[in-house]
Symmetry: C2
Subunit: 272 residues, 2 copies
Amino acid sequence: MTEKNISNIAIHTITNRPWTTEQCIEEYSKAGIGGITFWRYSFEGRDPKKVGEHARNSGLNVVSVARGGFFAAESKEDREKAIDDNKKAIDETHAVGAPSLVLVCGSSKHQSLDTSRGQIQDGIAECLEHAKDAEVILAIEPLHPMYAAERSAINSMAQANTICENLDNHPNVGVALDVYHTWWDEKLSEEISRSFNNGNLTSYHICDWLSPMEDMLNDRGLMGEGSIDVNQISRWVAESGFTGFHEVEIFSERWWKIDQHDYLNKIISYFE
Amino acid sequence: MTEKNISNIAIHTITNRPWTTEQCIEEYSKAGIGGITFWRYSFEGRDPKKVGEHARNSGLNVVSVARGGFFAAESKEDREKAIDDNKKAIDETHAVGAPSLVLVCGSSKHQSLDTSRGQIQDGIAECLEHAKDAEVILAIEPLHPMYAAERSAINSMAQANTICENLDNHPNVGVALDVYHTWWDEKLSEEISRSFNNGNLTSYHICDWLSPMEDMLNDRGLMGEGSIDVNQISRWVAESGFTGFHEVEIFSERWWKIDQHDYLNKIISYFE
């Protein structure tokens, strides 16, 4: 692989969950990885601003922060709490110097998906002014339909694109595409184009889908291990015009158990 | 609930897996259930024709047979084997006297979803003449996207409807709607209408979605236990014009462990 390709990869800190924030920065930098996406837990006990400086001083782009969202709730009080937490996440994203905050939009099993979807759009709308001031894009990540009951009522690229359009394609709203959540969708290619053409394709996450799957949350595969044709989706993303980072985001009890240097080498060899 | 409602319920034999075929027939009949859908394992060691007679003589409608399908495969040989097995399933469906055979269409993790989808449509097309002669409707059941890697590359009502239309809405092709697989889909209401208006809405399966879910296959909920607004979907189905059975199909290690008479009473009390 070329130097250019290496520099176009970013890794989410949760991919190497056993490592501290500082280890992630130093190891990714040493390996020649281009960027890093911080999970909010990576800021615990740290000043996000200093974390961002450390990353940039190590030659890494700070690509994104994961995650805000969880706007859907039965009570007004809980919805307002979510808005407050999202504003805090926006502030952290600004402080670390990332251009975008990924949103896992939320859902509640005690109300209809339609109701949750309305609350999500309203919640994002309420955060837009704050996001604009902080120069942060709120990137709606559609989640796999198997998470519709609790984690996200936004389950397709089409739904994420529609919310962006309903918000007049505001410059501070966007979409985070993840192959894990969307690979089954026969409309995927056209919805990627629609997203990019509206100026909304903010982030691109990669991993793989294992089958059988041991755990619905933490048994994702490394690219090439599973059923997703990641190369095909990456081609669609490139053809749309997207030139951003390919962000490796893998939750995996199995991979978290092995030596994380070996694992990082495996991740890199996928691109080779 | 009214007598009319009771008589509009059917139960899949797998819902009461601990019971023999004969126990299912006798217990459903005794309880006043209107219909029965036989899983193919229920014919093991039995003559499907006699099983059908037993059910009808007990006052039950024989609603459907589950299941054919699994058309997607890398090798031509495996695809031809699938066609042969589907023809056998069609013969069993004819023999038991059911008007339809439910199809779990199949997928292969070694090829693209597009390829599998093409093979599925071709496979169904190859069985249509046989189905016509046997007076059996092949009911395409869209499966939840979490099964796209192995069990079915048909993951939405839209896809099932499109296959029917591609086959000129042949009278022997149809769609089996299951709330478990489709409840997350924002297009569900309109796709139900599209299906009915094309003359393709053949079957309607109900259960519930549990969250957290212990097992991706065998942890379905009884209606009312989970996140699906089954009543809302049943209203859409009724509004489309569908007057067929509401078929209770629940795979559940948890429910299979309890006394099946108690469980049947719980199922019935949902409708009350």
